[in-house]
Amino acid sequence: MDLITIAFYFFGALTIVFGAVVVFTKNIMHAAFSLLFTFFGIAGLYVLLSADFLAITQIMIYIGGILVLIIFGVMLTTRITGVEVKSGKIGKVQLAVAGLLTVLIAATLIMIFTTSNWYTADSVPLNSTVNEIGTALLTNYLLAFEAASMLLLIAIVGAAFIARKKH
């Protein structure tokens, strides 16, 4: 098997396994760190899909930004007792129901994905997508870009307000 297939299976396995760890682990810190590896796996997949800019954004923002944010969140919301942070257990019945539901959703999605024909067109992989993304962002999607900036401003104002202690 050529190199790409091996890489695909490696990164795919990386994502799925650590994704499962995030979800099933009892310890929050373990979950946070396994999230890190999931993101790496996804970045790798992007590279395989010749979305170089996206891979870097994934690493920079997701891992650098959001993951750090989540870890700070975990720090702040667990009492510093040094005790292994348990996330408490949920009743057996709920687990079973949730599990069943998830398996059902996964099965449906896979069944649909595998059986339907998608919009495909063959194309030569670009060496770098950065140039095209840049132009598109500032021409066709200019409004979305500005709106996103407005959104972030609102998020900052809101988050600051909510998180601020009483002054």
């Binding site: 297939t5 994502t15 799925i16 994704g19 995030v22 979800v23 929050i28 979950a31 996804i42 997949l45 395989l48 899909l49 010749s50 979305a51 996206l54 954004t57 994934q58 923002i61 997701y62 959001i66 944010l69 989540i70 700070f72 969140g73 702040l76 919301t77 996330s87 408490g88 257990k89 949920i90 709920q94 687990l95 949730a98 539901l101 998830t102 959703i105 996964a106 999605l109 896979i110 994905f113 595998t114 998608w118 919009y119 495909t120 063959d122 194309s123 030569v124 992989p125 997508t129 095209e132 993304i133 598109a136 962002l137 999607y141 972030l152 900052i156 988050a159 600051a160 909510i162 998180a163």
Partner: protein, 102 residues
């Protein structure tokens, strides 16, 4: 066999389901947020995969970028609110926060 579009879709589907499972079962609010991040990442895989196999269509990338931006914004707000809950309830167990019902 050659890696095709469906493989990526399968990974995205699995990731999506795991994310949902995380949201539903985890008691700790932050764990729910993590589940949420997984869901959004699954979406991104979808976008990039369709872009790649749909004639190197750049729109998928742009969509993925916007999803990342919004994920960041949402995470920020969600964490701020979770902190607020922590202030008020001294715990962040989602299923204990249920006095509004009926």
């Amino acid at each position: 066999m050659e890696i095709g579009l469906t493989h990526y879709l399968i990974i995205s589907a699995i990731l999506f389901s795991l994310g949902l499972y995380g949201i539903i079962t985890r008691k700790h609010a932050i764990m729910v947020l993590m589940g949420l991040e997984l869901v959004l990442n699954a979406t991104n895989i979808n976008f990039i995969a369709f872009a790649r196999y749909g004639g190197m269509n750049i729109e998928g990338h742009i969509a993925a970028i916007f999803v990342i931006i919004l994920a960041a914004a949402e995470a920020a707000i969600a964490l701020a609110i979770v902190l607020n809950i922590y202030q008020n309830f001294r715990h962040v167990n989602v299923d204990e926060v249920d006095n509004l019902k009926g």
